[in-house]
Homo-oligomer: 293 residues x 2
């Protein structure tokens, strides 16, 4: 049954099932990603230059798979990349950016929560039209639904996303992103982004990685690369009053880059031009063009 919908079986011995866009792609009901959220995903922006932050997405996917003990290693990822490239999925026409979503599940079976002895992971690739990258700054909203971070899986982009789903239902009108508190009242991250704050002393801060549901690839890239611009990002727990007092607040992810917030729940936030500079510089470095659809 499993073989019917397959294309592009991986390397001999890779032991994965591969699913590609454009087919009647469906997974069996005993897929563990569906049954138990036993898997993870990555969302890559692809433009005419190629995928954005591919190395970082690769590293996070492999790290997450390792943490969940899903047998999917560097060779398997490279096989994915090669097959995706052959299918023309890693490039697109200028102005027609795409999103590639790679979902990796542990595959079928196992009795109850116990895992199959010889798991055969599934790699599901989907392609979607990329959303436009906003120009200027955007509105945000503080969600009431809190984010809960499982300490042993902090930062991993697993399939457990009910917090984000439940928080997203609160977003109204032209709000671009919802910010999520934890149960202690710290503001941890957006539903689909991390936070970057410019404090009054021109220091940049972002919440600690151990507090994050998703440790974003762009967040890590910024922490690593901003020092080349003479700037540093340090990790610190954020409160609502810190956001309101800050010189600037941005939401960041590798799909839309660095996007400064104009207001939060109708309250105007700081608008220091440094965040705009970082946005433009980052977009140039990783290959994003504002307004691109």
């Amino acid at each position: 049954m499993a073989g019917k919908k397959l294309q592009g079986i991986g390397l001999p011995g890779s032991g994965c099932e591969w699913f590609w866009p454009g087919e009647d792609c469906r997974v069996p009901l005993d897929d563990r990603g569906l049954a138990y959220a036993d898997g993870l995903f990555e969302t890559l922006r692809v433009n005419h230059q190629g995928p954005v932050l591919m190395a970082e997405h690769r590293a996070r996917l492999l790290h997450s798979a390792h943490q969940l003990e899903i047998p999917f290693g560097p060779t398997d990822f490279d096989e994915w990349q090669q097959q995706a490239s052959q299918r023309g999925l890693l490039k697109c026409r200028a102005g027609n950016d795409q999103i590639l979503k790679i979902t990796l599940t542990r595959g079928s079976g196992g009795r109850g929560y116990g895992r199959p002895e010889k798991p055969r992971p599934r790699v599901l690739t989907a392609r979607l039209q990329a959303p436009p990258i906003p120009q200027g700054s955007v509105k945000a909203q503080l969600c009431r639904y809190p984010v809960q971070v499982a300490p042993h899986r902090a930062g991993l982009k697993t399939l457990e996303k009910l917090d984000q789903v439940m928080a997203s239902r609160e977003l109204r009108g032209d709000v671009f992103e919802g910010l999520m508190p934890d149960s202690a009242g710290h503001i941890v991250e957006g539903t689909r982004s991390n936070l970057l704050l410019l404090l009054s002393d021109r220091h940049l801060v972002t919440p600690p990685s151990r507090s994050l549901a998703v440790q974003g690839t762009l967040r890590d890239w910024l922490i690593r690369e901003l020092p080349t611009r003479g700037l540093r990002v340090r990790e610190s727990a954020l409160t609502l009053s810190m956001l309101k007092r800050a010189q600037g607040v941005a939401v960041v992810n590798s799909v839309f880059g660095v996007v400064p917030l104009a207001e939060l729940d109708g309250v105007t936030l700081g608008q220091h031009p440094l965040l705009e500079d970082i946005r433009d510089w980052c977009a140039q470095q990783i290959g994003l063009a504002a307004g691109t659809t």
Copy 2:
């Protein structure tokens, strides 16, 4: 595409997609249960008398759907039950018990975490051979992997089950169940069961519902019905030393009933005959036979 694999479309206006055993049942990759664990499930034991604790499973499924705001109400459940009955899924030959797994997802689509405006939930019914109900008492193991309870979803049997998957991998040999601690070190529940303790004063306790990842149907049934036997269960956080000092410890769920533990990590636990009495009485009341496969 969605229509191809369907059978038994629900009542006009019910707005669900139904999947039944015995077909080439597969869900599209954009199913939100697969993408974001945006759904829930129930696991029912079915024997020659019918489903075990059907009313309780129905109530929990409807409550969970309501909490997740998945449009699936009493009429939809009754439609499921009627169709399942017509397919002969709610009875089986004596000695050949079955498990029905009902998975309810929000269906396809929506952009990112945001939910589709008009969700069309999917009801996936799977049937499995029921595991044997152990006779006598069994061994348990304390898992190192902690359970994390999202306060807003405490007790709901959602598709987010990575804690249970990760804890289950620790189970060795003939261990029947793994007990999971929370981050504060309390012993909260088993990977697939709740806990029932007999304290030295013959009082029964079980961890508080707000601390539970899954609020079991049998746990609630016992709290409600034991008073008819002159016994009460009160809620209390449990520590490891309480388990070791108790007159008896049992794991409970509606698939295997009340199962006393003989030992935990090789340490012999209390073996008061009252737990055996409760096991036998409960099995008779809800319709379970020890040793039944």
